[in-house]
């Protein structure tokens, strides 16, 4: 029973993602115990599972990493927690930026595999990366405009490309609907969630963020994997059309 209390305690550290084991002796001790004691490890796994969390990794370096199941009370929801009272298109763009953020940090399968590399990124760079990609797609495809009454048929890349990059500072509303501020928000969010750290502030690019292995693990073993399965399903159902492979 003592084991269970400790296991639950270790899982509870997952809700304080910015805390590192190195800063908290008790946390560190629990992580070591997870590593060495297989029955304790099993108990931790079970507790997490019961709470609707998938245990992804526990290490003495970054602590416990969990991924919330979709129906879990711990899961973030874009429409409730991140971008409430935004239009459907804007919510989609926010989601897109998060995916692009993952893609910027780990574009290839090999990048997901590396474990010690820290990626430096800033909002402008992220926006530029996504825009460049949209432009490349635009060159390759010859899309027509969507019908007047069905704007949601517009390909996502066009919706992003036509958004303003930065808003005029005089218009506050526009400032938050332009893409660079939206990218900034995504990066700040990762920091709040302990998935990234703020790095130095560069004169040209503003705040630089450092994305490390915590986010990599979350994307590789949980979020990206699930999305990959979903996309495969959509391809199989013919909802998404595969492009000719290169």
């Amino acid at each position: 029973v003592k084991d269970l209390a400790d296991a639950a305690r270790l899982v509870s550290y997952a809700t304080r993602p910015r805390l590192l084991p190195a800063r908290d002796a008790h946390y560190h001790e629990l992580c070591v115990r997870y590593r060495d004691d297989s029955s304790f490890a099993l108990a931790v796994r079970e507790v997490a599972d019961g709470l609707g969390l998938e245990l992804l990794d526990v290490s003495t370096l970054v602590g416990i990493i969990v991924g919330p199941h979709e129906d879990s009370n711990f899961a973030m929801r874009l429409s409730r927690d991140y971008a409430p009272s935004k239009s459907a298109e804007e919510r989609m763009l926010h989601g897109l930026i998060h995916l692009a953020l993952a893609s910027f940090c780990f574009p290839r399968a090999a990048d997901l595999h590396e474990t010690d590399q820290v990626v430096r990124i800033n909002a402008r760079e992220l926006d530029r990366y996504l825009r460049d990609l949209c432009q490349v797609i635009g060159h390759e495809r010859d899309d027509v405009e969507p019908p007047v009454d069905l704007p949601e048929l517009e390909p996502a890349y066009r919706a992003y490309a036509r958004r303003a990059q930065v808003g005029a500072t005089t218009d506050d509303r526009r400032k938050y609907t332009a893409t660079v501020p939206m990218c900034e928000r995504a990066l700040e969010w990762l920091c709040e969630q302990g998935l990234a750290r703020t790095g130095p502030v560069s004169e040209e690019d503003g705040q630089i963020y450092q994305v490390g292995s915590r986010y990599r693990t979350l994307v590789r073993d949980f979020a990206g994997h699930a999305l990959f399965e979903e996309i495969r399903g959509l391809f199989d159902d013919g909802i998404l059309q595969p492009q000719e492979s290169r």
Binding site: G67, A75, A109, L218, R246
Partner: protein, 506 residues
Amino acid sequence: VTGTLFDLWPDDDPAAFEGFVDLPLRPALELDDAGRRRRSKTLATLAPLVLLEAHKGLRSLEEYDLQELALAAIELIAVGMTLEGGATTADVVQALKPALVAQHPEAGEEEHRRVASVVIETLIEAHKASYADYADKDYVRRRYEVTLVREIEGPDGIHLRASIEAINAIIGALDTDIESAQHAAEEALRYALEKGKLDAAVQAARQATLRSIQYGEQIRTLLSATRRNVAAVDWEETAPRVIADALDHLAARLETERTIIRSLAEQREEAGDENELDLAKIVTLQRLLETCIARHALLENKLLDAHKVFLDEQERQSFAPVGASYLYDVEQELLRPLLEASYGTVADLLERFFARAGGIRTPTLPRLSTLTPGLLRAPFERSELGAELVETEFAPEAELEHFPAPVWAAVDALLESVSDPTRLSELLTRARRNSEQEARLLRLRCLYAFGPELGRPDQAQSRPLLFADDDGTPLDDPVFAGADLLVFWAVRSAVPLADAVALETA
């Protein structure tokens, strides 16, 4: 990722655009311009179609794209024309049918027929238009009548023929790829050179240079994507095409810019020494154009290296150790398919991705012990409007005194009894014999008489007015203080002031 090309065209470096911005360019309008008159007429030719579409609500035909139907009808009529005959109305109605059915399938054949006739009737009608003409320095609106389709007598009934204007304007001039920036720049330049407007030619050159910068930007995009992930760029088709386009553009530009420079040199010789201003301008333009050429050439050289970047990156990335094969490629297998799909489809997927990758939410559980005080807490006052303004308090206004009619009558009688100038103090004493109220009214009447607004219309009559004047004597009264006015009746003279002065001196 910073590519070499990006260094070439730093978009936030003001120096890169030096000389472009400061170029003295004052657009001057040439009033009498045959080209603009032609364009006005062309536009007038199109007006019936635009109006037909704009006013379709009046005919309750919102489901149809009448403008498009009219274009289709003209096309049909123009194609169906023979040397002396042409298509009949029935032919055109029949031919329009597929378009009508596609636009509004639920409507019956009868309605489709009606819509088709509305379109054809509009084309046959004569439309009045006008255009501006400044010939001989006078502005004249000239009448211009447009008929798009004419009916002619054929061997077997009435045939339709498209008018020359309709064919030229609608079939010829409208079929342009108006989104081609390249085409626009070329047109502008051709026009400018034709008109001998060198300023405008240089403006066009400037546009073309900006196009070069855009191409540079496109190539930079491709190369930077290649450096990140060589598989992200289609090096079989897309990239070579963009590079080829850019090279074509540059080749054409280098030639054009040289032509303008030659043309400028000729103008310079013609200008001679007497027109120094023009000469200075030409020299500036020449220098600017040489910069343009240098920029184009620079980009051209860099373009030729693009393939090498591809080969190097191909080598570097393809032969790098491949990661675990069960893993997916985030950019190619997750981001790209979603970017290309319609955003309605991907919104849900992205929401779920965010739910998984966005971190952990710490759910807040409401507890009765904190909820109750929370609900009872007074709402937070926002101070974003700044400090509250103190409202100025005014002293209560003194209530106006109302005098009853008998008091008025008494005061009137008292004042009317005045024949010679009388002191206010004496009148007050007399009024007080009746009441204090009468004294107050009397004081007001005399004050009014002290400053009667001369010149009011009702004073322009020759009836006596009450006047009061101050000769410096102070008033000695228990209630009121001030000057002891002299009160008297007088008639305003009709004699103007100047005459009055003249009379006095006489």
